[in-house]
């Protein structure tokens, strides 16, 4: 697994390609790769959002992400996992998070990618603060991912 927090913008598709090409263990072995990219929107809760700052808990955030990926590795048969998450200041259109999962077959890749993303949303210690025209506002909670 590779887990990284970036303070600067990143290109998710370039990172997926780089990771896949630079891991010799993946070549010829992975029959499936599933990925998720979360991107900053320019509006939220009826307000235009100009920018966003992502705060995190250094140390705990990395431990949480590592634990989540380990859970996915125990539950599904995976070859490799890549997680990149932004911290610091973002503007609309910036990628926030990338999850890439490589496995032999599609079911493991799809399921593990979804699991990692939902667990990250509910447990990983990040907090978003939005910059609006009228001031700043903390995002109070994430939306529910899985259908009820």
């Amino acid at each position: 697994m590779r887990i990284e927090l970036w303070e600067t913008p990143f290109e998710p598709l370039a990172e997926l390609a780089y990771h896949q090409d630079s891991r010799p263990g993946l070549q010829g072995r992975h029959g499936a790769m599933a990925s998720f990219v979360g991107t900053m929107r320019d509006s939220n809760e009826g307000s235009a959002v100009q920018a966003m700052t992502l705060e995190h808990y250094p140390g705990m955030t990395e431990k949480q992400l590592s634990a989540i990926v380990t859970e996915a590795e125990q539950r599904w048969t995976l070859l490799d996992t890549l997680v990149i998450h932004r911290v610091g200041r973002l503007v609309p259109g910036d990628p926030i998070v990338l999850v890439g999962v490589w496995s032999g077959h599609r079911n493991d890749a799809f399921e593990a990618c979804r699991y990692i993303m939902e667990a990250l949303k509910s447990r990983a210690t990040f907090w978003k603060k939005e910059t609006l025209a009228e001031g700043e506002r903390w995002v109070e909670k994430n939306t529910t991912g899985y259908a009820p």
Partner: protein, 77 residues
């Protein structure tokens, strides 16, 4: 015992500080520690607690050297 207390996000801003280092004569739980530090500020009901960078129950007993964190619901991803 001495514990390092950390606050994040909206809770950090509301309290006006990011951490405290406190020496205690008695063994406390995380919520008792909060009441000791902030007697005039009830712990917001949705507050999450971590001890040594792992999620913990509010009633978790603290030990010397622990890092205790209080923070609002997480909003990453």
């Amino acid at each position: 015992m001495t514990v390092h207390v950390r606050y994040f996000a909206s809770l950090r801003e509301r309290l006006g500080r990011s951490d405290d280092r406190i020496t205690l004569e008695d063994a406390l739980t995380a919520t008792e520690l909060w009441s000791r530090l902030w007697p005039d500020t009830p712990l917001p009901p949705n507050t999450l607690i971590a001890v040594n960078q792992e999620y913990a129950d509010p009633g978790a007993a603290l030990r010397d050297g622990d890092e205790v964190a209080f923070f609002p619901p997480v909003t990453g991803g």
